[in-house]
């Protein structure tokens, strides 16, 4: 509750709205005590006095009545009527909603049918019909506005009640022999009240506007009594000659509704956990780059990742997802990067082309060289030209990564068209050829399918075809087979292997499965907590893992290539990357850990093709090099 109030206060707009609203309400409450002139006393000699006239701060209206006084009394009336309508609508609507949600079945069905029927009306029209039947008058306008808002409350509250009615404490109450009435009043109601209050805070402004509207039309408050709406309605005939009589009540309605909206938005935002966690921020076209250390080029291989550092900045916390990672992919090579989820392997892959969601992602150091140019420092325009053309991606879950509303053929053709000036027909022909090259049967027909019409394996083949569209030099595959079942996974791996041999592709392959690495990759790098802990040719690492972590990873795979395995078989969890120990990050989970392991920083020790980051490695990679 206190946190909520703090959040609310931090939102300056909401606070301003709250203050203005409280001020208006306070004024309305004390209006009868103020030394105002009587609002209804006419004085035709003083008609249409302008504002700041003597004795009439806001001037007078067409009957010579004091506008300030009428404004205050009108505000009081408008607020009272709006609030009353909101309360009536909330009480009746919520009661209906609770009954429908609690009893369910036929009761629910009938009630909700009627509610839907009422909501089929254009909103104000229904209020007009009710006023037409009951006759013009403030009370009737109030009833009409309340009535048309009842369905809104009924539907909202029913939804909440349905959720609650299935919970244990309701069952427990029923078992304890409590009657329906007592359960509703004592168990359900207290849980529903907050929702009702929020719904009211979002609709009360609307109801004030609506009753004012009916009065404006002459269907609400009748003379001489006046709310803000009827003041405006009466002033309308003198709009051109004496605009101040219109402006005064109109501005007041605006100020009231605006302050309610500001305040209500603040309340809603403070209650919405998604806004607090920043989950509703939009990722930029390219990851933000803010580097301290920039390694020199030109780099070696087709893709040279040098001392890459990528962090997530969430509020005051900094998560070091990727910590000085260096990897070089040689032409025609498949380099595997393996690690648990949260090890930073995917973030490494996405950093290359600036695809880490940003905010919160920031690349804080390092470089990625391709063709002698640093991709990290490249301006967005250059980066975009290279994306999908020279460096292409294959992502994990093809159902989520393909656009659900475009035909796969159009998505393929687009990949070609953004980089090459070819005709539509040519692009389509190429798309068919691509589908054939990833062995999709019936390619001419499948090209017009939507992603949801294809199987998981077929979708991933489309994903691969899309990556191949422009004959890239490097493909970065981010767990491309994880979402697939075992047989399909094997097929996709075989396909990738064939393609890379046919086309001489370089692949950076991200996975958590050593079986997959063994099948496809020439070399492998093992990542743990944002760092590379071991690197070397796949066969050598598999035969003689040097890092205790690698050894355990390999031990998790019962038979190489046999399906997927989560790495949970290793006891303990990877460390949270915002609180890393000073020395070896694996120390808390390592059997061989000694005191010194956790204390001093540990470099990646290279020897020939292999490298390891461990004080007491399982294998002496240096001596192995000698014997090899």
């Amino acid at each position: 509750m206190i946190a909520f109030l703090k959040l609310l206060a931090r939102n300056r707009m909401a606070a301003a709205g709250g203050i203005v609203l409280s001020f208006v309400v306070a004024l309305a409450v004390v209006t009868p005590l103020l030394p105002l002139q009587p609002p209804d006393v006419t004085n035709t000699a003083n008609r249409f006095l302008p504002p700041f006239s003597e004795g009439h701060l806001l001037g007078t209206d067409h009957l010579g009545r004091d506008l300030l006084s009428r404004l205050m009394w009108g505000t009081r009336l408008s607020l009272a009527v709006g609030a009353a309508a909101a309360i009536i609508a909330a009480v009746i609507g919520s009661a209906i909603g609770i009954v429908a949600g609690y009893f369910g079945g036929r009761t629910d069905n009938i009630i909700m049918r009627i509610v839907d029927m009422l909501m089929a009306f254009p909103y104000i029209l229904l209020a007009l019909a009710i006023v037409a039947a009951l006759g013009p008058g403030l009370m009737n306008a109030l009833i009409a506005v309340a009535a048309v808002n009842i369905p809104f409350f009924a539907r909202n509250i029913r939804g909440v009640t349905v959720g609650l009615a299935g919970r244990e404490f309701i069952d427990a109450a029923k078992l304890a022999g409590m009657g329906h009435g007592r359960i509703l009043a004592q168990e359900l109601l207290p849980n529903v009240v907050p929702v009702i209050v929020i719904a009211m805070s979002t609709t009360i402004g609307w109801m004030i506007l609506e009753t004012a509207g009916l009065s404006f039309l002459g269907l609400g408050s009748q003379p001489p009594q006046a709310d803000l709406g009827s003041m405006l309605g009466e002033a309308r005939s003198a709009l051109i000659t004496n605009p101040h009589t219109s402006v005064v009540p109109g501005l007041m309605i605006f100020v009231i509704v605006m302050s309610i909206n500001l305040f209500g938005d603040g309340v809603r935002d403070a209650l919405d956990p998604r806004l607090r966690s920043g989950a509703l921020t939009r990722p930029r076209p390219a990851t933000i780059v803010d580097r301290d250390n920039v390694p020199d080029g030109p780099g070696d291989g087709v893709l040279d990742i040098r001392a890459l550092e990528t962090q997530f900045h969430v509020g005051p916390r900094v998560y070091r997802a990727v910590n000085e990672v260096s990897l070089a992919v040689q032409p025609g090579e498949c380099l595997g990067v393996i690690g648990e989820s949260g090890s930073g392997k995917s973030v490494t892959a996405l950093s290359v082309m600036g695809l880490v969601a940003s905010p919160p992602g920031v690349i804080t150091g390092g470089a990625v060289f391709h063709d002698g140019h640093d991709l990290i420092g490249a301006p967005y325009r250059d980066l975009r030209r290279l994306r999908g053309d020279k460096v292409a991606y294959i992502f994990q879950d093809p159902l989520a990564t393909l656009h659900p509303l475009y035909r796969v053929g159009d998505q393929l053709a687009e990949a070609i068209l953004v980089h090459h000036r070819v005709g539509k027909a040519e692009a389509r022909a190429r798309a068919v050829a691509l589908l054939k090259s990833v062995r999709i049967p019936n390619a001419e027909r499948r090209i017009d399918a939507y992603p949801h019409e294809l199987s998981g394996g077929m979708r991933q083949r489309v994903g691969i075809a899309m990556a191949l569209a422009n004959d890239p030099e490097v493909i970065i595959a981010d767990e491309p087979t994880t979402a697939l079942d075992v047989t399909v996974q094997a097929q996709i791996l075989a396909l990738l292997d064939d393609l890379r041999r046919e086309r001489g592709l370089s692949i950076l392959f991200i996975t958590h499965d050593f079986g997959v690495v063994a099948q496809l990759c020439d070399r492998v790098a093992v990542m743990y907590a944002g760092r590379i802990v071991e690197e070397g040719p796949t066969a050598e690492v598999l035969a003689a893992p040097a890092h205790p972590y690698t050894k355990r990873l390999i031990a998790c795979v019962p038979e190489l290539g046999q399906g997927r395995r989560e790495l949970a078989a290793i006891p303990g969890l990877p460390p949270a990357v915002d609180r890393l120990p000073a020395g070896c990050h694996f120390a808390p989970r390592c059997d061989k850990a000694r005191e010194i392991c956790g204390q001093e920083p540990l470099p990646l020790a290279r020897s020939g093709a292999r490298a390891v980051r461990c004080r007491f490695p399982e294998e002496d990679i240096a001596s192995q090099e000698d014997t090899a």
Binding site: L125, G250, N261, L355, H452
Partner: protein, 315 residues
Amino acid sequence: MGGYILKRLVSAIPVLLGITVIVFLIMSLIPGDPATAILGSYATPENVEKLNRDLGLDKPLVQRYFIWLGNMLQGDFGRSFSLNRPVLDEILERFNATLILAGTSFVLCAFMGILAGVISAARQYGLADKAITFTVLIGISVPSFFLGMMMILLFAVNLRWLPVSGMYAIYGGGDLPDLIRHLIMPALALSVVATGVIARLSRSAMLEVLRQDFIRTARAKGVQERRVIWAHALRAAMVSIIPVLGIQAGFVLSGSVYIEIVFQWPGIGRMLVDAILKRDILLVQGGVVFVAACYVFFNIMVDVAQSLLDPRIKT
């Protein structure tokens, strides 16, 4: 597709019947002797007797409903006392004007709302976003009738750019440019609130979509950012924007009541208010049923548009 439209049309029948029942029940709320209450100042003994006969008030409620419904189905909405002409003729004549006003407004608010929402989302927390968010907040807080009056003061009275009110100039008007000049202010005033609501929703729908994986895929393909936003993201966001367009169309249609009063627009909303003040119940009844039915059909069109946009909807 044809089958889907037919299915939706059939499913509209119970809704339409429900609307007539609700209107009928509301009208039976009229306190006291309905004929006298309805006729008010027109209540001569002959008129009262004739209306009692017309309404079949001597018969039970259910029977009366079916008589009324049967008459309506045959195009007989009764006769307006205040205007002394068939209700349906008056409605059809007036509805034309409302359709021009509300239709223009709807196109305006859909276009401006989505535009503002998309720009706002694409520039989240930037200057454009802040400016749009604040403008939208003002837009949804200002009463449309007050806004209309202020527009008249500024653009018609002070600047003399546009005519004060009406649909055509009394002398020498009547052509399309004249209509457009008269239409600008009321259409804008009517669209402001809906524009704000649509802009807000479009913004959050876009933010939701922009975080999706397929947006990252589009970017990884090298698709230009402008295309990512206006093609990939907006296309996906439209799935949640379109239903809101349907709801807002209802607000625009019924909100035209205020605007028609302020701008002296000879539409169905002004007719309804006049009819209520004159207690011409048959005219109100017919007008409400007619507009509500139009809205039901509009919503069917919205559903059809949705199914065209989203191939995942089974048609």
